[in-house]
Subunit: 171 residues, 2 copies
């Protein structure tokens, strides 16, 4: 099965992100707004139960809840026409991402970790320039907390279903 | 905020349900296939954190994982044109539903508890008779396990986001 690990922002941030995703993100219906903290990986359910979940519990226990800021949108252009709410980099979120690539957890990283909440993707070049031109003028002043991360698995239709929640700072 | 409690079936059952939901359920994009074990209720986040989550943990700890069967589709007609995979009633699932209406948890029940996984809803009468006529001929022979339930909250767009997972039989 295909698994991934994400942080879901608070409702207020998810509602802001969805106001854009509704129009600009074809993945709108597949998963709520999220910060991917570990890229999708393949694993057997037995491996998830026996090795990965115990390690995720340990990582959660040893990670204190933390906060992050969102102040602007940014984009992965010219690599892809993805536009996102930029999660202000912090030691805590990089540390969480690092931890999630240790032990039995697959350590493959296709990209440098750029914490973000996607709000638009798969736009044509023309759409991208229009939308990004307008969104990049927006200033945000959002503070949000990360108190947990979630292990998800992907269904045949591409949607993601939550398998388990891990609370930071709890055993 | 609006909260609800659901059990998500295993991937194989979710994939079966989605093969129908895709065509017949306008809520397809708002939540993966699920068994609602507690109807949506309003609560403050502080109440959720301080009272409801501790009680849900206790209920989960005192409930052993259990299995259930799905053998056919059924419907809520003539009350609504909803068609569902019928979750074979069992003491365990009724007990879980009962427990989720005790203590600080809102005890309001608008409907008798009928465990089910919705696969079609909001059909016109004509569609309903067509679709139900065809689906009700199907026989299923599915066994699935319940090892956890999830507390969800609803976003402004109507979609549901998982707040926390509770593993049955664990403290």
């Amino acid at each position: 099965m295909r698994y991934g690990i994400a942080v879901f922002p608070s409702k207020k941030v998810q509602d802001v992100a969805n106001s854009y995703r509704k129009r600009y993100d074809p993945h709108y219906a597949l998963i709520p707004p999220h910060i991917t903290v570990k890229e999708p990986f393949e694993a057997e359910e037995s491996e998830i139960e026996e090795k990965i979940i115990p390690e995720l519990k340990e990582i959660a226990k040893n990670t204190e809840p933390f906060s992050y800021g969102i102040y602007k949108v940014s984009s992965f252009s010219p690599v892809t026409n993805t536009i996102y709410l930029k999660v202000e980099p912090s030691e805590e979120i990089f540390n969480l991402n690092e931890q999630l690539h240790t032990g039995s957890l697959p350590d493959k990283k296709d990209f440098k970790f750029v914490p973000h909440i996607t709000i638009a993707q798969k736009l044509s070049d023309d759409e991208f320039f229009d939308v990004y031109g307008s969104l990049s003028m927006n200033k945000f002043d959002i503070q949000d907390n990360v108190g947990r991360f979630q292990l998800l698995y992907q269904l045949e239709n591409g949607a993601w279903s939550v398998y388990e929640t891990f609370r930071l700072g709890e055993g």
